[in-house]
Structures are given as C-alpha cells and as structure tokens.
C-alpha cells in the first residue's frame, strides 16, 4: 500500500510541476493589495489575474474576501495571481466608481477583461478555482446542454482524438473543479466536454443514472471508425477527484494490450505503477491470433481495472504447466506471479473484479474448495434444526396410544372417536407436529370419547398405504361408525384441539324445536364446546327445499371441526326466518354471543359454494391479524389496509376504522389491525417496510398481491374515516410515493449443492463427455466406443492423485462411515 501511495505522490508532483513551470506574477502565498493605478500598470500581456475592487471593507464582503484569500495559493498553481484593489474614496473610475461593480470579481488576461464574476458565484475555494478555470479554458472545455450538441462533438472527433465527457450536477463544486483542473493539464490531449444536464446522463446508456453524483467517461473516439456508432465509453468508477481523473486518463492512454517477450516478473506497466494488477494471457505461435483477440476482449472488459499483456511462451521459457493459460501479477512487491488454468474470459474478469474470489484463487485450490463447502453442510432449515436440537428431549407420550399394523383396526373400535397422527419418525415436520400433538393430548386429558393415537409410517408402511397417507404428517379422526375426517387446518396445538372438540358435534346440528334454534343462536351449546365456539351459523329451510338442505348438510360435513353449524327445517321454519327478515332457505348468523342476528338468503345450491359462502361470512369486518388467521384473509386476494399497534388499538382509531370497514360491504381491500404484543413478528414486517420505526400506531396500505407497494398513512393526520378515504383516493390516483416495495425475488436454492458430476469427471472420465481444454477453444468430444483406451485412463488416475492424502481432514467425523476412513484416496486432483 505504501508503495502505491508513493507512486501517487510522484505522479501528482508531475502535475504540479507543469503548473509551477508557468511564469508567476509577484510573490507567492499572499493576496496582493494594490491601488487601482498600480494594478492596471502592473498587468502584463498573457498573464492572468483575478481582481477584486473594494472601497472600504463592507461587512457583507468579508466572507468573500476570506475565500478569495484562501484560493490565492490554488490559483497560483495555474499562474493566476489574485489582487485586491483598494479603491480610493474619491475614485469614480469604471471599476472603483460604481457600487455594483464592487460586488464583483474580474478576471483579466493582460489588461483584457475576460470575465466578471458576481461574488456570490465564488462562495468557496472550489467554486473560485472551478469558475476561474472554466472561464480561462473556454475553448478547451466545451459546455453542452443537449444530446445533439454532444453527438456533434463526438462525431467531429471520430478518428481524430478522444473525448473526456463529464457530468457535474452543478458548477462551482469540488467535482467541477477537479474536471477543470484536469482539463487544464490534459485539455490539449483530449477534448473535454462538460454538462450539468442530467438528461444527457439518461441518454448515455445508463439505465438508472444517479444524477446526484458527478460522472466522468472516457470516450474512445480516436479508434471509432463507424460514424453511425457512438464511441465506446469507459466510465470512471471512482469519485471525481483530480487524482482519480488523472489516474483514469493515464490508464486510458496506455496501450490496450501490451506485447511482452521478457520474463513477466520484470515487466512493469503503467497499471502496475498505478497500483492495478496486470493480467498475462499466455500465448504461443499456433494460437497467436485467437489469443490476441482474447486478450483484446479481456482488455476492454478490464479497462481501468487492470492491464492486459500478451506473453509469448515461445519466446519466454516459463517454468509452468503447459495447461496454464493466464497469469496474474499484482502491484504488491514480492508477491510472485500466479499462474492459472481458467476456462473462460468471465473467470479472468471475476479474478480481477471480485477481490474475495481473487483471494480464494490465490489460496491453494484444495483449501478453496473446502472453504466453499463450509456452509453447505450447515443446516439452514429452521424446522429440521429445531427438531435436531430437541432430539434428546423425551416426549411425554403416555396420553397417546402407539398403534401398529396389528392393533390399528381394533383400536379404532375402542373410543367413539380416535384421532390418529400418521408420521414418519425421521421427518422433521412430522416430529414438530408430534410435539404439538403431545400438548393437545395434555389439553384434552379426561375428555370423554376421544382417543389420541399415533402410527409411525416408517415402522408400519402397510397401514399407512392402506389409509392413503401420501404426506407426512397426516392427522385423521376416525369415528367408531367408520366415517373418517382428515384434518386440514393449522398444525398447531390450539387449532388441533379446537378441531377435535368441535368435530365431536355433528355438523350440521339438527335442531328440533324453534326454542332450540333460538337457544343455538344465543350460543347455548354443550359446555365443553363453549370455549372453542365463536359464531353460530344456523341454516333455515322449509320442508320443500330439499336440494339446498342436502347441499347444506354436505357443506356441514366439509366444515366439520372448523365451525359449528345448526340446521332447522321444521314446519315453523318460516316463522323463524320471518323474524330475521329472510325467507328460507337462509342462513342466520349470530356473531359472538348476545349481538344481533344477521340473516342471509341462501342462493347457492352447491355444497362447495355454500362452504365458500360460510367461510366468507365468518371473516371479521375489522379483524386483528394473527399468524393463525392471516391465510383466511390472504385468500381474498385483496390489498391490506392494516394498522400496526403496540397493544390494543385505541377507541377512536378502532371506531373510525370500523366505520371505514363497514362503510362499504363489498370492500376492495381488507381492513385489519395487528397487535404487536400478540404478534411480535409484526416488528419484522415494520422493519422490512420502514428504515426507522414509525411512531405507533401506524396505518399502512400494502398491495400484497399486485405490485407490492407499501404506503404509510401520513403521521401528521388523524385516523379519521374521511382522512383515510381521501388518502386512499390519492393512492389510487398515484399521488403518493410508496415507502417501500415488497421484493419480487423468487425463492432460489439457498446454497449450491455438491457438484458430484464435476468431481466424477476427473476420475471417471468414461462417464462424462470428456471436455478437453485447448487454447481459446473448447471441444466436446464424444467418448470413444472402444473401452480399452478408457480402462488405461481409469487406472492411471488414482495413482496420480494418491499422493494427496489426509490434508485438512476434520477429526472426529470419520466414524460415520462403515469403517474408519483415514486417507482420502482419489479424493481430488490438483490443478497444477
């Protein structure tokens, strides 16, 4: 590193020398103070000076004077003297006399006024130097405003000279100064073009230009032959500073590919001097043309990042493998050249661009492989890992009957209902559910008529196949009568316990009298159900409507365990339905006890439609979203208007939101809220949405299904229905900027797999289409038909690799095999 900075200083002093060699005026370091007469008489032809006229120092001019003083030194480097001209009081000449002339600075070459600057344009040293040089180099630096201007210049340069195109967001900035300073030095070598128009950046092929930062491109117009094509551009990756620009221009000036015919250790190019690596493409007579093309291709890719040299093996006697085709020389002293066998140009690029990969390749190839594999054998499945960490925990299985192929059928006859968990003892999700199942068993201890049992399908595949178990785990409830029900709800303790209890009641429950029906709507249910029961749904049918009634019964079978359904179809059903202002067939809904009963006409005659309808009706208008209930609302496929609250939601907010939700029954979105105390993972959601935690409660609009934009309700507005609605209008009109967007990314494999195919390629060549490597060319060879040739190849391979043994073997893992494995015979082959 120190060597690198050394070179830096060296090249910069060269620059200073250029500047310092210009003739100087007067003393260095000091702001000259002269009278007007003295000043004008001292002006020499060709000398540039910046003058500021002052009568008496006004307080407003003070900061400007300070900046002028600070820039004296910088301007002197470019042979520009800075003079403060003290005007006598009585002077009424051109510069001293007028009041507004005193608010300006003047740039003279000899005694010719080049430009006058308002003092507010010269606010600091950067702006002073930038503006002064900008004025001086009016011819050398073309300022463009339109794309057409730029193209005209570009076209005029083609075949003649190169162009340096810079964009600065504003003049007078440090970047602007850096460009002007560079132009001062290189202005004769290249055509400099400057713009402050961001639109020109958009048209330069950058998809998403960052218009807030300055950019500089080197346009290779000199070699551009085709007038129709724009010149090839090399952007400067580093920040726009004088040093970086200098460095960049040096690199652009260097030959694209250097031909080398000497010991590469002794080669030095401008790249190495500037602290960049040098890539050698190893060539030989036979492949020279192809290698030359390769080198040029690589060189263009690496322009500004590394140098490329073509090294002829025929001339230089290299003591390296014949297969090696690329060498890398780093600028660091004492690091030997690394010879490599690479397979495509991308690898060369990666070698230079990706430092980490670069480091890896520098390591021994073996170790590199080892390193890459490190993460692959680390478990990244949260369920599997949790189960394996829990494997020593003994499960209290006393409450659960373990069934076998022999006992399965007899066990089903013992209790009114037998719950069976079919699982595989090696499968993580099964084992996770088994743990919840144990909790369910504990929960339901003493419940009459329910027997909890389990079948391990790894032990008893026959019974699992017979019961049509295709997924692990599967939970089924068998009734003594022979009917069975497959559980398809959340695999959690509460949900499963609730299902088991609710499925005990027949669904739908046939109610015999109108009193029973009314009681059912009031929530009068067997006591053991009461804690699991939410909404009563009662189907009312007249005797005549048998089609709808049968469909309802079928729907009840499907929903059994998930909801409680009642059914009333006696003669006086009409009276019941009339009370709730519907006519049969109809559904009566009593959401949580004591509240009013809602009547809905049952227009659907198909069980599946009725299931859908009941499910939909059971959704809350303004639900609290939890991990457990989110899927129900996700299925609606609508955007979410969700309020995140730390604890219960406030009365006012709740009222307003409820109003909003109720206001439009056919909502185009789900109105809901989330209690961070109940659902702490909501913090994770907020973290993904916002850079900083917004003050709670926060109202958010999320397009979960389309586009994925997230909008935040303005925190300065109160949560009133009116405000929210007008905000939503603005959202729809596209007047709001999303706080964030949900990632669209696919779920790719988290890590690569072991590439056994590649590993086998080395030792078992007959398996694979052998890929032979030749310079610049790749051939896929069909393997020969005869096997004799192959046999010899096969035998030789292990011998070659037998030398490698036991290196880097992690101890303690050997005994997992069938016998201690001590050496890694035939493990892998060295590249070199």
């Amino acid at each position: 590193m120190s060597a690198r900075t050394g070179r830096w200083i060296c090249s910069f002093s060269f620059l200073l020398l250029c500047a310092a060699s210009l003739p100087m005026l007067g003393n260095a370091n000091l702001l000259q103070e002269l009278g007007p007469q003295e000043y004008f008489s001292s002006l020499q032809a060709g000398r540039v000076s910046l003058a500021y006229f002052s009568r008496n120092v006004s307080p407003s001019a003070q900061p400007f004077l300070e900046q002028i003083e600070n820039s004296v030194e910088a301007l002197q480097d470019y042979g520009i003297s800075v003079v403060k001209v003290n005007c006598p009081k009585e002077d009424v000449s051109r510069y001293c006399g007028k009041e507004n002339a005193l608010r300006k600075a003047y740039l003279f070459r000899g005694n010719i006024l080049i430009r006058e600057f308002p003092t507010d344009a010269l606010f600091d040293v950067n702006s002073i130097v930038a503006n002064v040089l900008f004025a001086l180099l009016f011819n050398e630096v073309k300022y463009v405003e339109t794309l057409a201007d730029l193209q005209n210049i570009e076209n005029s340069l083609k075949g003649r000279s190169n162009m340096v195109f810079a964009y600065v967001p504003a003049t007078g900035t440090a970047e602007h100064r850096a460009v002007m300073e560079a132009a001062f030095v290189y202005g004769t070598a290249h055509q400099f073009v400057l713009t402050t128009e961001a639109t020109l950046m958009k048209d330069t092929g950058n998809d998403e230009p960052d218009v807030s930062s300055a950019r500089l491109f080197f346009c290779h117009c000199q070699r551009a032959m085709d007038l129709a094509q724009p010149c090839r551009r090399t952007p400067m990756e580093q920040a726009l500073t004088m040093l970086n620009i200098h460095r960049h221009l040096k690199l652009m000036g260097a030959p694209l590919v250097t031909e080398v015919a000497e010991d590469p250790e002794k080669v030095s190019t401008v790249h190495l001097q500037l602290g960049l690596p040098l890539v050698f493409i190893l060539s030989q007579k036979e492949t020279y043309e192809a290698d030359r093309r390769t080198a040029e291709f690589v060189a263009w890719q690496l322009l500004g990042k590394a140098g490329v040299a073509l090294l002829s093996r025929d001339v230089v006697d290299l003591n390296v493998l014949l297969r090696s085709n690329v060498a890398l020389k780093t600028p660091d002293e004492g690091v030997p050249i690394k010879y490599l066998v690479l397979e495509d140009t991308d690898e060369v690029i990666t070698l230079v661009e990706d430092k980490s990969k670069f480091e890896q390749i520098r390591e021994n190839e073996d170790e590199e492989e080892e390193k890459e594999n490190d993460n692959q054998d680390i478990q990244d499945d949260q369920v599997v890992e949790a189960i394996s960490r829990d494997r020593k925990q003994e499960l209290p299985l006393e409450q659960i009957l373990t069934l076998t192929e022999e006992t399965f059928h007899s066990a089903l006859l013992e209790a009114a209902r037998t719950v069976v968990l079919f699982y595989a003892s090696w499968e993580a999700v099964s084992l996770a559910v088994l743990r919840s199942y144990v909790e369910v068993a504990d929960h339901l201890k003493g419940t009459q008529g329910v027997l909890l049992s389990q079948v391990n399908c790894w032990d008893w595949p026959g019974v699992c196949t017979k019961e049509n178990i295709t997924q692990f785990p599967t939970i089924k409830i068998y009734e003594k009568r022979g009917r069975s029900l497959t559980y398809n709800g959340m695999l959690g303790t509460e949900e499963l316990a609730r299902f088991i209890i609710l499925s005990q009641v027949s669904c739908p429950l046939k109610l015999a009298t109108i009193d029973e029906a009314e009681g059912y709507l009031r929530g009068e249910l067997p006591s053991e159900l009461s804690s699991y029961h939410h909404t009563s749904v009662l189907g009312v049918f007249s005797k005549a409507t048998s089609v709808a009634r049968e469909a309802f019964v079928e729907a009840g079978n499907i929903l059994s365990g998930h909801v409680t359904l009642g059914m009333y179809f006696e003669d006086d059903a009409l009276a019941l339905s009339r009370k709730y202002a519907v006519s049969p067939p109809a559904l009566l809904l009593a959401r949580s006890r004591g509240q009013s009963v809602e009547g809905i006409a049952l227009s659907k005659q198909n069980a599946q439609d009725i299931v859908q309808m009941i499910r939909y009706e059971l959704l809350d208008i303004f639900p609290e979203i939890t991990v457990q209930n989110l899927p129900h609302y996700l299925q609606l496929g609508k955007p979410f208007l969700i309020m995140f609250s730390d604890g219960d939601i406030g009365q006012i907010e709740s009222k307003e939101m409820l109003k909003l939700a109720k206001g439009r029954p056919q909502q185009a979105f789900v109105t809901c809220w989330l209690n961070l105390k109940n659902t702490p993972v909501g913090h994770g959601v907020l973290k993904a949405y916002f850079a900083t935690l917004p003050s709670l409660p926060v109202l958010v609009w999320v397009n979960l299904h389309t586009g994925g934009q997230v909008f935040k309700f303005p925190p300065d507005q109160s949560f009133s229905e009116v405000n929210i609605l007008s905000w939503l209008e603005k959202l729809k009109a596209g007047l709001e900027i999303p706080s964030s967007n949900l990632s669209e990314e696919d779920w790719k494999p988290p890590l690569p797999a072991y590439n056994f195919l590649q590993m086998m390629e080395t030792t078992v060549p007959e398996f694979t289409l052998h890929t032979s490597y030749s310079h610049g060319d790749t051939q896929e060879q069909q393997q020969p038909e005869g096997s004799e040739e192959k046999a010899t190849v096969r035998e030789e391979q292990p011998k070659e690799s037998g030398v490698k043994a036991e290196k880097g073997q992690s101890p303690g893992r050997d005994l997992r095999g069938t016998a201690p494995r001590l050496a890694r015979r035939e493990k892998r082959h060295s590249e070199l």
């Binding site: 949260q382 949790a386 899927p631 994770g684 979960l704 590649q758 096997s787």
Partner: protein
C-alpha cells in the same frame, strides 16, 4: 372381434381346436407363480402350464444337498415389512401376509423341501390358474393382424393339445444341465444323479468339474470322507462377497478353500475342459490326460500306449488317478421347444445359457414373448439379483406393469405429491424399498416433474434399461424433466480380484459421497428424457447416460439414510438446485413474515401456510430455532426508537441473506475464451 371369436375360450380356426387365453405362462416355478399372482390380481385371462404335478418341481430335486443358499432372516430389528423383504430372499410378493417365508422355516438357510411346500401353498392359497401335468413341447406363431402383437402363440403339449395365446410368458428357468464332451466324458457322473451319501465316497479321490455353487456344495458334502478333492474349471473362483453377486461362490459353501489354502489337501485348477481327456485304466482308476495326446496316438494301440502328461512332465498336477469324476457345470435354458420363427436366440459369451432379451424382458426376436425368472438373468448376469427369487419377484412385477399399460391401458401406478414432499418421498423409498435394493442398477424409481415443479409424479421400480421408452411403456408423460433413483455399489469396488476389505474402504462425509463403495442411493437428474441413442451410447458398465446433475447419498453402515445433516440436507440442496427453488421448511411465523414482506412465498409456505395448514410449532421448538439463528425472536428486544432497527443484526436477516446468495450453476459450462 377377437373377443367375440374366442368367447368360449375355445377358438375354432379351420379344423384345429384351440384353447385360448390372453396370457400363457410356461412353468409354475417361483417366477411363473409370481406372474400368475399379478395377472390374477388384475383379473386377467391367463393360464400356467406346468409339466409336473406340483409347482416348483426344480426345487423338488435341486439343490441335491437340499440346503438353499438364499437367506431367510427372522429378525431385522425393524417392523417395516417392505424393508424386511431386503433380507428375505425366498418369499414371493403377495398381499397375503401368511405367505412370508419366515412363517415356513426358522432356518437362515432353509431346506429346499420347505420351498416346495411354500410354492404349493402360494399356488393354492391364492387360487392361481395352473394346469399341471402339461408339458409344452412346441411353440409356434400364428400371424394375425387382429392379435395384440400381430401374431398368436400356438403351444402344443405332450398330448398334442393346442393352446392359443396373445402373450407368452416364459418362466421355465434354466434346467438343461450343461454337458461337455471330451474323450472319456462317459466316465463322468452328473450332479443331477451323483450320490449324495458321503459314505459312498469314503476313501476315494474325487475330481469335480466346475466351480459354481453346485460344485462347491458337492465338495462340501464329501470333504470329510474323501482322500482329497480336486476341482477344475476354466475360470478362477469368484467369491460372492468380493463380487457382490449372489450367484458367485457363497461363503457357506467354501469349506474346500480352507483345506486347499491351509493344508494343500484339496485343490483348485484352472484349465479348459474342452482340452481334457479321461482315460480309465484296468483297475478302474481315472487318469487325466489331454485331448492332444489322444489325437496323436496310434488308434490301434491299447490303453497303455496313451501318453499321460506325467510321462513328459513328471510333476504334472493331476497325475494321481481319480476314483470318480463329477460334473457340476450348471444349467441352461431349454431352447428346443421354440419354432425357428420365434427367433429365440441364445445370448453371447457367458450369457449363452440365457435367451436374448431386451431390458424390458421382451424377446429380441418376437414381440409379446417375455422371459421371466432365472431365464431372464441375461439382463443383469453377474451384476444384480435378477436370476434369483429375491430379484425376479420385482422384475416380474415390472413386466406385469408394462403389460397392463400395453394391453389394457392401465398406466404404470404412480402417486402425485406436492413439491414439498420431494425430499421425503425419496428418503422414504431409499430407506425401505426392497426392489431398488435387490435389483440395484436394474430397477429404478422415477420422479416425473410437473410443470413449474410445483408437483411431481412418483413411479416405482421401472426397468432403467428402457428409460428412453418411458412414456410409451408407462403411459406417463415426462415433459418437464425427471429424477431417476437407483442404488449402486462404488465403481471399481467389487470384483473377483479386488480386496474389498482394504483399509479406508468407506466414505463418511457427505461431500465425498460420490466415492461411496457400499450399496448406496444415487439420484440422476435429467432435464429431458434421455433418447434411445443416448441410452445406446452410454458407457457399457453404466446403467444410465450422463445426467444433467447427479447426487450420491453417502453410504451408511446401517443402510439408514435418515440423518438430517449427512443424508437429507445434501439431498435437499441437490433437489433445490435442480428445481431452482427453496425447499426448506418454515414455521408459520416465518411464512407470515414472508407473506407480508415478499411478493412470492417459498413452496413450503405456499403449499402449507397459505392453505391454512401452517406449521405453528411448539414454543420449545421455536426457541431452538431462535438459538440456531434461523428464526428471530421479536418478543425480547426492547423496541424503542431507532434501537429497533439499529440493534438487530438479526437472524431473519440471515434467513433472507442466505436466500439472496448468488446461486452457482450446477454444472459449469465451459464457453469459448474468445467468445
């Protein structure tokens, strides 16, 4: 039309009367009974012809010394009935659990009579359609465009009764003794008739021709009472534990190797039997000489004029005279009953005892003729178990499935699963499947991917040699790529001259699994079905052509491939990279977070949580996941102000970061340097 014609199972064509069946099976041995069982289960019209009065007549006679060398394991420590078949080499496949061989014998190596009894029970309990005392003496073809295969098979029995069949299933085994002819071969006794009473050999010197299990079994029986025994054969002895081929010399029969190698008492010799000659002297002793000497001698001279090798080479190995010479050279297929038009040809080289068949077990010469059982062993001779009950019970089932698809439009049985079950379905099969295990390298499970890889179809035990014809042979479609699951031994591990006990023979680490030596599962991935050409051009000792990716599950001492990190994790990574998706499991809470923060969900959340079947997980498990850094605990942190985001370099990040990591392509494609 045919059905109408043959409604009464008696077809009348011209003057000849035929008894018609869709399927005719020749032979009621194990494979004949096995195919009969499947045909019966499927409700097909079939008949089995058996020349004897009872099934399994070969076992009534052989092995002569009555000890079967197929193992009958009573205990495995496991109750999994499919797994236990891996160590039950005698049972046939059926739904009837009474018909497991362990209910018939407690012997590890059971008696052959037990096999006869077992086969009788199998035939009678399952009510199989067998016509006993019917010896098929001639088979010919009757061309007919209406027939399934363009011709009917016409079978003639010993009573000149003709039978007409659409499909012919040959389950005759190999029962014709191999005989060599050389001067003096008339003095040789055959294995079929030689005495099995050791007393008869007391004080005798015996020469045995042959080096298979029957030769060693014969030697074993008389080893204690003879003077010495010599065995001669062209090839060197092949020990089955070294070759992993059950047809080679089994350890139970190898007592002679002890006495030869320890005390130079008995001995093995290599030599071509065709070059031998046996001369009987006046005392009745048998002398070994060479055919060469006999050809050169003066024909008119007496026995004393015959040159014996020891006349020229006085330390010639077999210079001592023998009292008996026994031929134990095995059996071959009976080719004699097939008309030339059937073009049922013997195989080449060491497979000439078997008829030539395709990997689908169909004859190369005649469509509709399938060879089952021992006679079908040319497919995997000296490799797998297709010549033995524990192997061909599965290949027979495969043939039946092919027939069901071909003639009855019943596609190969398959199960469709969601992608989330992909790893599970493979792990389940490789751990318990017996067919894959016995018929390693021959039968393979096939996973056909559905579009977008959201679901897949699982086919069991398909003959991998006809992989290219999978779509026509199974009636299933494979447009989106497939996995082939097969069991393999390590390359170059097995063999007659290999030291299979070399130190360091087993691989323990998953990353070196491809070097596994013992039988282990291998999964091949193809982006599209290999073509017939690719199958044909594959390397001769490989079951399959080069895949797009391959995975080996590392060999296991217990053949238990359920270890989460060593077995399941690398398999999951392989499958993920083939399907380019994330197959991890997630707790409901993670799915909740993904549902709110990402537009797409991983398959596990998609197929579980979103369908209201999320995995909630107990508190303790969630705690473990948090400890492992795979789940974030949002309840403990102090969520105030900026600390919320500043302080949590959380594991959720890890989870998402893992996911965002660049994916290295499975196979690095080499492109031209100069593009």
């Amino acid at each position: 039309l045919r059905l109408a014609l043959c409604a009464g199972t008696i077809c009348t064509t011209g003057s000849a009367a035929f008894l018609y069946h869709d399927y005719c099976v020749i032979g009621a041995g194990p494979s004949g009974l096995q195919i009969a069982y499947f045909l019966q289960q499927a409700g097909r019209d079939y008949v089995v012809f058996e020349r004897s009065h009872a099934p399994g007549s070969f076992f009534a006679l052989y092995p002569r010394h009555r000890k079967l060398i197929s193992i009958n394991k009573q205990y495995t420590g496991k109750s999994n009935s499919e797994f236990n078949l891996r160590h039950d080499w005698n049972s046939l496949l059926s739904h009837d659990r009474r018909l497991l061989f362990r209910h018939y014998s407690r012997d590890f190596f059971p008696d052959a009579d037990t096999m006869v009894r077992y086969l009788e029970d199998f035939a009678s309990l399952l009510k199989l359609q067998i016509q006993y005392n019917t010896a098929i003496v001639h088979i010919t073809l009757d061309r007919d465009q209406q027939a399934w295969n363009g011709h009917y098979f016409v079978l003639t029995d010993q009573n000149r009764q003709n039978y007409k069949c659409s499909s012919l299933l040959v389950a005759t085994g190999t029962w014709v003794p191999n005989v060599v002819n050389f001067p003096g071969s008339e003095y040789v006794e055959g294995y079929e008739t030689v005495s099995i009473n050791p007393e008869d050999f007391a004080g005798q010197t015996v020469l045995i021709l042959g080096r298979g299990n029957s030769a060693f079994e014969t030697a074993e029986n008389i080893l204690g009472v003879t003077n010495f025994i010599h065995m001669v054969s062209r090839s060197r002895v092949r020990l089955s534990w070294a070759t992993h081929y059950v047809g080679d010399l089994r350890a139970i029969n190898n007592g002679l190797l002890d006495t030869y190698q320890l005390k130079s008492l008995d001995g093995l010799l290599e030599g071509d039997l065709e070059d031998l000659a046996i001369v009987k002297d006046k005392k009745g002793k048998l002398h070994i000489t060479l055919r060469f000497y006999l050809e050169n001698r003066n024909t008119s001279a007496g026995i004393d004029s015959i040159t014996l090798p020891q006349d020229e080479l006085d330390n010639f190995a077999t210079r001592a005279p023998y009292d008996r010479v026994i031929r134990c050279l095995g059996w071959k297929f009976d080719f004699s009953i097939y008309n030339r038009s059937l073009r049922l040809m013997p195989g080449k080289g060491n497979k000439k005892k078997y008829p030539q068949i395709k990997p689908s077990y169909e004859s190369r010469g005649t469509r509709g003729l399938f060879v089952l059982g021992t006679a079908s062993h040319s497919v995997d001779f000296r490799k797998s178990a297709g010549g033995f009950i524990h192997g061909f019970r599965y290949t027979t089932r495969a043939v039946h499935r092919l027939l069901e698809n071909r003639h009855h439009s019943v596609p190969w049985p398959s199960t469709v699963y969601p992608t989330t079950q992909l790893t599970n379905s493979i792990i389940k099969r490789v751990n318990e499947a017996s067919g894959l295990y016995q018929m390693f390298g021959v039968l393979a499970d096939i996973i056909l991917l559905r579009e977008n890889a959201t679901a897949f179809e699982y086919l069991e035990e398909y003959p991998v040699g006809v992989l290219a014809e999978l779509e026509t042979q199974t009636g299933r479609k494979a447009p989106n790529g497939l996995f082939v699951i097969i069991m393999e031994y390590g390359r170059n591990f097995s063999g007659a001259d290999k030291d299979v006990f070399y130190y360091n023979r087993a691989v323990g680490e998953a990353q070196h699994a491809w070097q596994s030596n013992f039988l282990h599962p291998v999964i091949y991935y193809y982006k599209r079905l290999p073509t017939e050409r690719e199958m044909r051009l594959r390397s001769p000792d490989w079951s399959l052509p080069r895949p797009d990716a391959i995975h080996h599950i590392v060999e296991d001492f217990l053949t238990d491939w359920t270890a989460p990190n060593a077995h399941i994790l690398p398999l999951r990574r392989f499958l993920e990279n083939c399907l380019r998706t994330d197959l991890r499991n997630f707790f409901a809470e993670s799915c909740f977070l993904f549902a709110f923060t990402r537009q797409k969900l991983p398959p596990f959340c998609q197929q579980g949580y979103v369908r209201m079947q999320g995995l909630v997980g107990s508190k303790r498990l969630q705690r473990h996941a948090v400890d492992a850094g795979l789940l974030e605990d949002y309840t403990v942190a102090d969520f105030t102000g900026d600390r919320l985001f500043g302080s949590r370099e959380g594991s959720q990040d890890q989870l998402l970061r893992d996911h965002a990591m660049p994916v290295r392509p499975l196979q690095h494609l080499v492109n031209a340097k100069d593009e």
